[in-house]
């Protein structure tokens, strides 16, 4: 395979040039028998004959794992890392994903001895420290959401949705009828309908109104005695606050249905308004979005679920309780619980990071964070709305959604603009979403961007708009500066190669 040449022509205008050009083969291809990166201490007990002890269950053939030295491993993964874009390198305006700065103290404290090495089954008296951390985080999140109770057990946002919808289901069952359907706006995240389906519900779509929000009349017509809940994202996926949210709640409650809020966009609300105060019954948070735990290339996340008092008996087992003597322990005796959604107590390492973030900000910092996130999005909106089509004029919160309508006239689509943005040193915005905006450009800068960085991004977007007019091919064939050019996804899906094989 030839080493890719970096084209240093005027086509590559990026400010960040991250890619290590040297090719890096797979570890398996670099392997040579007998190389070692490990050394075990001498065995201090008598050795055993594994084949004899295990009999027919003994493994005869080793798996084809690579054999390398430590320096080769360090270089391998370090080189791979240089092929990744990251928040640490620059702005990551992925809408709805909230790619904010990940404070390094979070990483430091999550690795503190006594926390990082705590076994989940250690006796309660040896776990009081971590239980206090969990307790404080729970209290902070309850306060931030304005809800009454919480579980930290779900491992990610979609897992939180699953848990939250099960709470609703269990409550309806306790009222004598689980009901059949969940209503989901057409602007919702794809996880919402998938979640409703795996909880055993029929999914009914709700069409958005002209402002991209919930159509109250349509909702009122749709909600009936078979409706378990509405799953709403607020601010919505076009970054708009549902200002009639209380009426939405009333419509649902009048028919005995619940209001579920997808908390993916909580970065627009923290410290300014609380879902518990505007009628939400149950919601999830994404600690990896709003509370700065790192995304890590796609996880680990954490998706706590907060709810109103009447749903508390249904929270997953176990819940943290305070004993009479002031110590804390886990209560497993919960007859009405939906059950357990994950082994142990959740992604505890993420709880530590999220709490560190809350402590670093305090009430004033959390509010300022929200204000800056909203300020940044509106700044971008103002500076780009003359060049890019803004399908919904409703005031934006923390993200702004344009469409590629004007650029389409030159045959350039949102995906092309996104790829061209890479050449300017930015990660693309979200392209495929929300579905109600054809050719969406969904931009969420977050609070982490300075004016300088925002201006560079705006300049890049403006330059691309100009390029679309003058040289659309340049945009359509982007990116030009990356280690690999556009990849053949069709062949990848038609003839999947999902693992390396010895030839």
């Amino acid at each position: 395979m030839a080493t890719t040449e970096i084209n240093a022509s005027s086509k590559t205008t990026g400010k960040v040039r991250a890619h290590q050009t040297q090719n890096e083969r797979l570890t398996f291809e670099k392997s040579a028998p007998g190389k070692k990166a490990y050394k075990l201490p001498p065995l201090d007990v008598p050795s055993v004959n594994a084949s004899q002890l295990l009999g027919e269950t003994f493994r005869e053939n080793d798996g084809l794992l690579p054999e390398l030295s430590e320096i080769e491993i360090i270089r391998h993964f370090t080189r791979l890392s240089t092929w990744n874009y990251a928040i640490d390198l620059g702005m990551y305006p992925l809408g709805s994903c909230t790619m904010k700065y990940n404070p390094r103290v979070n990483e430091f404290v999550s690795r503190i001895e006594g926390l990082a090495d705590a076994h989940p089954y250690r006796p309660d008296e040896l776990a009081q420290g971590i239980m206090e951390v969990i307790d404080l985080l729970q209290r902070c999140l309850i306060e931030i959401t304005g809800m009454d109770a919480i579980t930290l057990q779900p491992a990610a946002g979609a897992h939180g949705e699953f848990t939250g919808i099960l709470l609703a289901r269990a409550w309806h069952e306790s009222q004598g009828n689980a009901r059949k359907k969940i209503i989901i706006p057409d602007s919702a995240h794809g996880t919402n309908p998938a979640t409703a389906a795996i909880c055993g519900y029929q999914v009914e779509n709700l069409k958005s109104n002209a402002d991209g929000g919930i159509d109250l009349e349509a909702l009122a017509r749709q909600v009936d005695e078979d409706t378990a809940a509405l799953m709403i994202t607020n601010p919505s996926t076009i970054g708009v606050f549902e200002n009639e949210i209380h009426k939405i709640a009333d419509i649902l409650h009048a028919k005995g249905a619940l209001l579920y809020m997808d908390g993916a966009n909580m970065n627009a609300l923290v410290g300014k308004v609380r879902p518990g105060d505007f009628g939400v019954d149950v919601m999830h948070l994404n600690l990896h979005k709003t509370f700065s735990t790192p995304h890590g290339g796609g996880g680990p996340g954490s998706g706590p679920v907060a709810c109103k008092k009447f749903l508390e008996p249904f929270l997953p087992t176990p819940v943290l309780v305070q004993r009479q003597n002031g110590t804390k322990s886990w209560n497993y005796d919960r007859p009405q619980s939906v059950g357990r959604v994950r082994a142990f107590y959740g992604n505890t390492g993420m709880f530590i990071r999220a709490l560190a973030y809350i402590l670093a900000n305090g009430p004033d910092g959390l509010r300022q964070t929200t204000e800056d996130a909203v300020l940044n999005a509106n700044y971008i909106r103002k500076k780009l709305e003359d060049l890019y089509e803004l399908p919904y004029k409703t005031p934006s919160m923390h993200e702004v959604v344009f469409s590629d309508k004007r650029q389409q006239a030159k045959g350039v689509k949102t995906g092309d603009i996104a790829k061209r943005l890479i050449d300017y040193g930015f990660h693309p915005y979200t392209v495929s979403f929300p579905l109600i905006v054809p050719g969406a450009l969904m931009i969420e800068p977050t609070e982490s961007e300075s004016v300088e960085e925002l201006d560079l991004f705006i300049e890049a977007m403006r330059s691309i708009a100009k390029e679309v007019e003058e040289d659309p091919e340049l945009v359509k064939t982007a990116p030009h500066s990356t280690r690999v050019s556009r990849l053949d996804e069709v062949t990848a899906a038609r003839k999947p190669i999902l693992r390396w094989k010895l030839e």
Binding site: Y38, I73, H119, L359, P395
Partner: protein, 449 residues
């Protein structure tokens, strides 16, 4: 507000350019009655040094100077230091799901290596790019088997981790998908094959067993597979202790393997984040939940990697997706990949053999010196074993704790029929002298009693 890169003057300037008089103008769409007009009641803003002090105090309260014989689905193995130095590189740590392949080849190639390693270790054809953990992976594997077979019942062994079984229950019961339990043989701790045969019907989609099972006993996978397949059910093998694969025969007769990879270099962290993964035979690929990375080429013919087969996923298929999983455990999967690269082909076997030898020694000493009974002695084990003590586990746990030892976990809460039984785990990080000490403390206790 050290994370916010704007000066007050810059904020003013930005507001002016937007055409807003004050920041609250930007929030005016929120009805006044719902706006929070006070500070949140959370701790005040703290200095970095205060934050570190707070968490250090919490860690100290947890006590670190105990020797622990706890396992039961969370295992302490040595973590090579290069794991943390590599995963803390910002380009891995602060990157997102690799949707934009051209600028995420690092994550994509590492996942491709992960998929390959898991397939190699488990004897399966393909593996996905991770699930939340072993318990949710097991539940999703059952749902996957139901999609493959079109059947709606599951048979789960009682020797599967009790918390995994609870999670499976939660995933199934709300959709009214029935499952039944199959017991273990009292002598061996292995799945009761006769009972298994009886519990499988023409409606059974999957049989799920764990190996090594919750008692540390290695199951007879070929025999179980034969029974399951005879009636057209799929066999799912759940693996909670991945290091076992260094020395235990991979479950090649299984159709789906659901594994917890925590043992591969992932800290205990009081139970999470861990790293589940589903591996399977190739013909079941289209029903596999979660992300997959595939190899392809770019326009110039260079090798590259992309997320693929996304038509199974929620962002495309919505309510018809194979699963609602979106965020997975990519960074933890990277830890496992680095761990497996460090140990490699020989190291993983040597590591597993040390675990086997240590646990064998401990089981021998803890029974010989104390007169305690080793349960399930008739079957092969990896590094966990069940002791039946002559006295209540609470009593001897107290005695061990006085000596800074945390003994095995009590099984009575899950298996009352086993009496005063405890599950012990010994990994390579426990020195012989601590095993000897635990044995002598328990032996002395018997004399006192």
């Amino acid at each position: 507000m050290r994370y916010l890169p704007k000066s007050p003057a810059e904020r003013e300037q930005m507001l002016k350019e937007i055409g807003a008089a004050a920041i609250d103008d930007l929030f005016s769409i929120i009805p006044a009655e719902y706006r929070l007009n006070r500070d949140l009641d959370v701790p005040r803003q703290q200095a970095e040094s205060e934050i570190i002090d707070y968490f250090k105090a919490a860690g100290h309260k947890n006590a670190t100077d105990y020797t622990s014989f706890l396992g039961a689905g969370a295992y302490r193995h040595y973590r090579p230091v290069i794991i943390d130095s590599l995963v803390q590189r910002g380009e891995f740590l602060t990157s997102y799901t690799p949707y934009q392949a051209e600028i995420t080849q690092g994550t994509l190639q590492a996942i491709f290596e992960f998929q390959t390693m898991i397939a190699e270790l488990t004897g399966m054809d393909v593996a996905n790019a991770s699930m939340y953990d072993g318990s949710t992976g097991a539940a999703e594997a059952i749902l996957m088997a139901m999609r493959v077979t079109g059947r709606h019942k599951a048979v789960v062994a009682r020797s599967v981790h009790p918390e995994y079984r609870e999670v499976i229950d939660t995933y199934l019961k709300h959709r009214e998908l029935p499952s039944s339990l199959v017991s273990f043989e009292p002598k061996t701790g292995r799945v009761d094959l006769a009972a298994l045969e009886e519990s499988i019907t023409e409606e059974t989609a999957a049989v799920l067993v764990q190996s090594p099972n919750f008692f540390g006993v290695v199951e007879d996978i070929p025999a179980i597979a034969e029974i399951a397949h005879k009636k057209g059910a799929l066999l799912i093998v759940s693996i909670a202790e991945a290091v076992s694969l260094g020395v235990v025969r991979p479950p090649v007769e299984a159709d789906i393997v659901s594994m917890e990879a925590q043992s591969f270099g992932v800290a205990l962290s009081y139970g999470g984040p861990f790293c589940g993964v589903i591996a399977a035979k190739e013909q079941f690929l289209r029903q596999m939940p979660g992300r997959l990375v595939g190899q392809t080429t770019d326009r110039d013919g260079n090798r590259g990697f992309v997320l693929t087969l996304s038509t199974r996923e929620q962002h495309i298929r919505r309510e018809k997706a194979t699963s609602n999983i979106c965020t997975n455990q990519a960074l933890v999967a990277l830890m496992a990949t680095i761990f497996l690269t460090v140990y490699g082909k020989q190291g993983i076997r040597e590591l597993a053999e040390q675990n086997l030898a240590k646990a064998h020694y401990a089981a021998t000493e803890l029974t010989a010196q104390t007169g305690n009974k080793l349960l399930f002695n008739g079957a092969p084990r990896f590094h966990e074993f069940v002791l039946q003590t002559g006295e209540s586990p609470a009593v001897w746990q107290k005695r061990l704790m006085k000596n800074k030892i945390v003994g095995g976990i009590e099984l009575g809460r899950w298996y009352p029929e086993l009496g005063d039984a405890t599950l012990w785990c010994v990994t390579e990080v426990i020195p012989k002298e601590q095993i000897d000490k635990a044995a002598s403390v328990l032996a002395a206790g018997l004399v006192e009693a």
